[in-house]
């Protein structure tokens, strides 16, 4: 892949800091949308363990639906495309960017626009959901750290919405 210096991102590179939460652009990632009826066949084809239940994450792979996984690996990683097999591997590395929220109040900033009860998410839980009208993939990485994948062109909106919400936290 080309030199990282020539990448552009739709949100500021500097983190936004608020009492209780920081909001930052995550590092570039290699991302794939993986689809298959049979998780085992998928695991074999791509050489990665595949989590079996919706919401589960395993080794960078999140199960988002009964036949859908999101695999996120460090930038530059690659996996087989599974040509000819009854499955689908699609490179979506640059479709989304990751916003990382860290801090005790990260959950409150996210709750500003996400209708799910985030306090019920165990660490490691991943889900596609919505923030106001914008679709996101939300992963609870630790008690206080959350990763939000959002399609690139919606990222400025989400950035503004989250930083605005964070600025209102009392």
């Amino acid at each position: 892949m080309a030199d990282a210096a020539v990448r552009t991102a739709p949100v500021p590179a500097e983190a936004a800091e608020f009492p209780g939460v920081s909001i930052a652009l995550g590092a570039p990632l290699a991302r794939w949308s993986l689809r298959a009826r049979d998780p085992k066949a998928l695991a074999k084809a791509i050489g990665h363990k595949v989590p079996g239940t919706i919401g589960e994450t395993l080794g960078g792979m999140a199960c988002l639906g009964p036949d859908e996984w999101l695999l996120r690996l460090p930038e530059g990683a690659s996996i087989p495309l599974g040509e000819g097999l009854p499955l689908s591997v699609v490179d979506i590395s640059e479709r989304a960017v990751t916003l990382v929220l860290d801090g005790d109040r990260a959950i409150d900033a996210l709750s500003a626009g996400c209708p799910r009860d985030l306090s019920k998410f165990p660490v490691g839980y991943a889900t596609r959901t919505i923030f106001e009208t914008v679709e996101i993939v939300l992963i609870r990485e630790s008690e206080t750290r959350w990763s939000v994948d959002v399609w690139r062109s919606f990222a400025p909106y989400l950035w503004t919405a989250l930083t605005t919400a964070a600025s209102h936290l009392r």
Binding site: R7, S88, S93, C114, E132, S153
Partner: protein
């Protein structure tokens, strides 16, 4: 401080002094005062004017139920709010409150002429008059009605404030922090449950705030609750609506009470999902209906007690009580014990609890049983009352300066009703109480009928010896609905409570009938001689009290109103001075004007640059879908009109997508990347719709197919290069792809790198010129764009926008779905039969193409138009007629869908949908314009440039 402040019995003892103004006049109050209590403390009784008759009004209540004392508050800089209840406005240093609906002043209001003429404005008067002469309605009658109506002024400047919003989840949501709500919170918090306790008032405590005996308990309880980590206390927060599945909307007021609102959010919308809801909203006291019950100084008994104990304000110095209910006696005793002078206790009942009589006697109060107040003297303030026995005898007058009404209590079942909980009539309360629940919710305290206020009788109107036809006894205070209005409505056949409401407007004011609905019901019940339960009840609707639009909209303001989607190239275009246009949620560069150029000049220049040299265009917003799996070709074959199975990897095809009703919904060029992998493109606006439609068929109709769909719209930035010099520009940048025409023909795709970035390079053209579309991972889009831009300098590369793209494609007769088609156009209508796989047994929409009207002749078909005058550019949307002489209504045979000046051709061109258009080639048609001029144009094939397509294959 003032004669109306009672020293000791007050929660505001020792509070700081606060300066504020009302109608420009300075006053002082205490921190913790409501505007209502502060004005009362200053001896101000007159606070508003009623809606219809402009009658002078004072306070009726002390809380959310207040219908009379409405004020506007101006905080400057666009922060103007009308129609605030003085009882809910907390005073702060510098508060500027004004009365409304009066002119020139609150004391002298010309509008009160309506009151004099009131008998000519009964319920429904406007239906009966203002019809003649007819023209007067618009010019005179309606404008005057409008001017008389309304309460405060609307704000006139944009609101500088911002609003916050959140979702929240709890196990138990308790609405109302009176004794019942606090008890419920204490009980619930004992478990590990997450508890929210919210109350609309600035201070938690509800009725307990007006009951010194409970102050100790209250302080202790609140201290306990504040200590508990699982309890969230939300004062100044109104639960305004109860929606499906225990979803409650609430608004928290954050800054209106602060002297300086600063930059923080003014209000916050809470969208709360609760496991269980406990409604502890309390009960609202009912006024009594008698003549003069609206004179300033006549108010609810409970409110007087609140003013006394919570704010330390005596509502008068010689107070009379008109009761049909015990609780009012208690309130009056409280006043008497605090040293307030009492004129009389009047009670409609012939006998009351002896304990009440004993206490009255002990306090030396005069009592008149079996009697009613039948009139009130004073106009801007009460000066006295007239009393008569229930049979009309014994009329006499007494001087007083305040009259308390105690008509019983109405549980606040508003939210309960929003939740579709059933209501049951309680004879004891003379009100509806919660019955069977529809959600996981219960009512506690007064709200659930579980509180004893004592007993009483419930009457629609107090007995009076006066002529009922001449009485002004108010039921709905704000909207000036009197008992006789309700009688009139019923006399006129409005027998349903809903008709009574709408005919009289009872219960439709800003208080939504909190004090009037049950009295109206009682009146209707007696007029119709049917039990109250048989009359029914009007529907409680959100919001419980009026809520700010700003709060309801939450964050959705300015940049957060709706996402503006920008491509990775957007910042470059902006720096180049591009003019943008919104397309779906995206913004796209429309043209790139140079200094002094208008749109037409810019577009002409851009068009020529593409035709003669090379243009660069940002096509990133086009929808993209990766279709992968062994059955990919089979799936596309079923979806699109075209055949797909034979398409070789590395080749592209124009695809046409119909809805099942046979009409075109989308199109785009798609490529087969591998036997089991396709790269589809869709229109910018159609991306989400197409993906959803395809998923629908895939999941529900053909779940057996092994194919999956992934949106890749945002994975790629797409840089379109069009024009004869395109190859020269990119050749030095591309690696791993043979760009020669033989190796890489039109409608093919290759993979390699450009500027070191992996690319899917398409050789396609929407302009009719040699063209490539460079797909690169979005993060590198701008980098590649800039490199191409640099490389193109030597060739005069020109950026162009959507407007130029539209012209260029129109010169070639390519359609834009949604512009040249509109949801009623079939492939045949659009002249796209070549894109329909005739041999395919089925595809989405095929069956519909065989319906009688679709195969009938005379359908509108897409043709080209050339105006006789080459310099005339037709208006897009202009209608076409065959006979320009026909009188209106004219027979329209079609309309212009696309129309441009073509710089390449040096003349105008247009496309149009015309009835039977394919058979009209060469015919002259007419396009009447708005100015009266009729244009003429010849029907031609919609292909204006390079019909052989030679340039494309260069």
């Amino acid at each position: 401080m003032s004669a109306h402040r009672i020293a000791n019995a007050c929660r505001l003892n020792g509070a700081a002094t606060v300066n504020f103004t009302f109608d420009g006049k300075p006053y002082q109050g205490k921190a913790g005062d409501s505007l209502a209590s502060a004005l009362l403390a200053n001896g101000v009784v007159l606070m508003g004017r009623s809606f219809k008759y402009h009658r002078p009004r004072g306070l009726l209540g002390a809380g959310a139920e207040e219908p009379n004392a409405l004020v506007s508050v101006d905080r400057g800089g666009g922060r103007f709010t009308p129609n605030l209840r003085a009882t809910a406005v907390e005073i702060h240093e510098g508060l500027d409150a004004r009365s409304q609906n009066r002119w020139p002043s609150l004391e002298t209001d010309f509008g009160s002429i309506n009151d004099r003429l009131g008998r000519f404005f009964p319920a429904g008067f406007y239906n009966k008059t203002f019809m003649w002469p007819r023209s007067f309605w618009e010019k005179l009658y309606e404008p005057s009605i409008r001017r008389m109506a309304g309460l405060g002024d609307a704000p006139s400047d944009p609101d500088p404030d911002v609003y916050d919003a959140t979702y929240a989840h709890c196990d138990v949501l308790i609405v109302g922090a009176g004794p019942a709500g606090i008890d419920a919170a204490l009980a619930a918090s004992a478990s590990k449950k997450k508890v929210f306790l919210i109350d609309e008032q600035d201070e938690l405590g509800g009725g307990a705030l007006a009951d010194p005996a409970l102050w100790g308990w209250l302080a202790e309880s609140l201290k306990d609750l504040a200590r508990l980590p699982n309890v969230t206390l939300l004062p100044r927060t109104t639960a305004f609506g109860y929606y499906h599945d225990n979803f409650i909307g609430a608004v928290e007021r954050l800054t209106d009470h602060l002297p300086d609102p600063g930059h923080q959010a003014r209000e916050k919308l809470w969208r709360i999902r609760a496991g269980e809801v406990v409604l502890a909203q309390g009960a609202i006291e009912r006024p009594l209906v008698f003549e003069g019950n609206d004179v300033p100084g006549v108010m609810l008994a409970g409110a007087a007690r609140t003013y006394l104990h919570r704010f330390g304000v005596a509502v008068g110095s010689r107070v009379a009580l008109m009761a049909t209910h015990d609780s009012g006696w208690k309130d009056l005793f409280a006043l008497a014990r605090a040293g307030v002078g009492v004129a009389v206790i009047v009670d409609l009942r012939e006998s009351v609890d002896p304990a009440l009589l004993a206490e009255a006697a002990e306090l030396g109060l005069r009592v008149e049983l079996g009697s009613a107040v039948i009139g009130v003297s004073g106009r801007l303030a009460v000066t006295g009352i007239e009393i008569a026995r229930a049979d009309g005898s014994g009329r006499h007058k007494l001087a007083c300066d305040a009259v308390l009404m105690a008509g019983g209590w109405t549980p606040s079942v508003h939210l309960w009703s929003h939740s579709l909980g059933k209501l049951e009539w309680s004879e004891e309360w003379g009100a509806y109480l919660p019955g069977k629940a529809n959600e996981n919710v219960r009512c506690v305290g007064a709200c659930g009928g579980n509180w004893s206020f004592g007993s009483g009788v419930h009457v629609g109107q107090l007995p009076t010896p006066k002529n009922p036809a001449l009485l002004k006894a108010f039921v709905d205070f704000q909207n000036d609905v009197t008992a006789k209005d309700i009688a009139l409505a019923i006399r006129e056949g409005m027998k349903s409570v809903e008709h009574i409401k709408r005919y009289t407007t009872n219960g439709m004011a800003t208080d939504q009938g909190k004090t009037s609905n049950l009295n109206a019901l009682q009146l209707a019940s007696s007029a119709l001689d049917r039990p109250v339960q048989a009359i029914g009840l009007t529907t409680f609707r959100p919001p419980y009290t009026p809520q700010t639009f700003g709060a309801l909209a939450g964050h959705a303001k300015d940049a957060l109103f709706q996402p503006t989607r920008k491509s990775p190239i957007d910042s470059w275009a902006e720096a180049q001075g591009a003019v943008f246009e919104p397309v779906a949620q995206w913004r796209r560069a429309r043209y790139f004007p140079r200094t002094g150029e208008d749109m037409h000049a810019a577009v002409n220049r851009e068009c020529l640059a593409v035709r003669e040299g090379v243009g660069i265009f940002d096509a990133s917003t086009l929808g993209k879908i990766e279709v992968v799996g062994p059955d990919a070709a089979e799936f596309l074959n079923r979806m699109y009109t075209n055949p797909w199975k034979q398409l070789e990897p590395g080749r592209c095809r124009y695809g046409l997508l119909l809805r099942e009703d046979g009409f075109i919904t989308d199109d785009g060029v798609s490529a087969r990347m591998a036997p089991d992998r396709f790269h589809l493109t869709t229109t910018t606006g159609g991306a989400a719709r197409v993906l959803n439609m395809m998923e629908d068929y895939l999941q529900t109709e053909w779940p057996d197919l092994n194919v999956w769909l992934t949106s890749t719209t945002e994975q790629y930035a797409v840089i379109a290069l069009q024009g004869p010099k395109t190859r020269e520009v990119i050749a030095p940048l591309v690696e791993g792809i043979d760009l020669s025409s033989d190796a890489f023909p039109h409608m093919a795709v290759r993979e390699g790198t450009i500027c070191g970035v992996p690319t899917r390079l398409f050789r396609v053209s929407f302009t009719g010129e040699l063209g490539f579309e460079i797909n690169v991972p979005a993060a590198y889009g701008l980098h590649v764009w800039k490199q191409v831009w640099e490389a193109g300098q030597a060739h005069g590369i020109t950026p162009y926008g959507t407007e130029t793209m539209h012209v260029l494609r129109a010169e070639k007769g390519f359609i834009i779905v949604g512009q040249d088609t509109d949801g009623t156009v079939t492939p045949y209508d659009a002249g796209l039969d070549w894109a329909v796989g005739k041999k395919k047994p089925d595809f989405v929409g095929k069956r519909s193409l065989a319906r009688p009207d679709i195969v009938a002749s005379g359908r509108k078909q897409l043709v080209g138009l050339l105006t006789d005058d080459p310099n005339e550019v037709l208006i897009e949307g202009a209608q076409i007629v065959a006979d320009p002489k026909q009188a209106i209504p004219m027979t329209m045979i079609g309309h212009v869908t696309s129309s441009y000046w073509s710089a390449t051709l040096g003349r105008s061109i247009a496309m149009a949908l015309v009835a039977g258009g394919f058979d009209r080639m060469g015919e002259t048609l007419h396009i009447p314009s708005a100015s009266g001029k009729t244009h003429t144009a010849k029907v031609v094939k919609p292909m204006f440039y390079d019909a052989e397509g030679s340039r494309l294959n260069g």
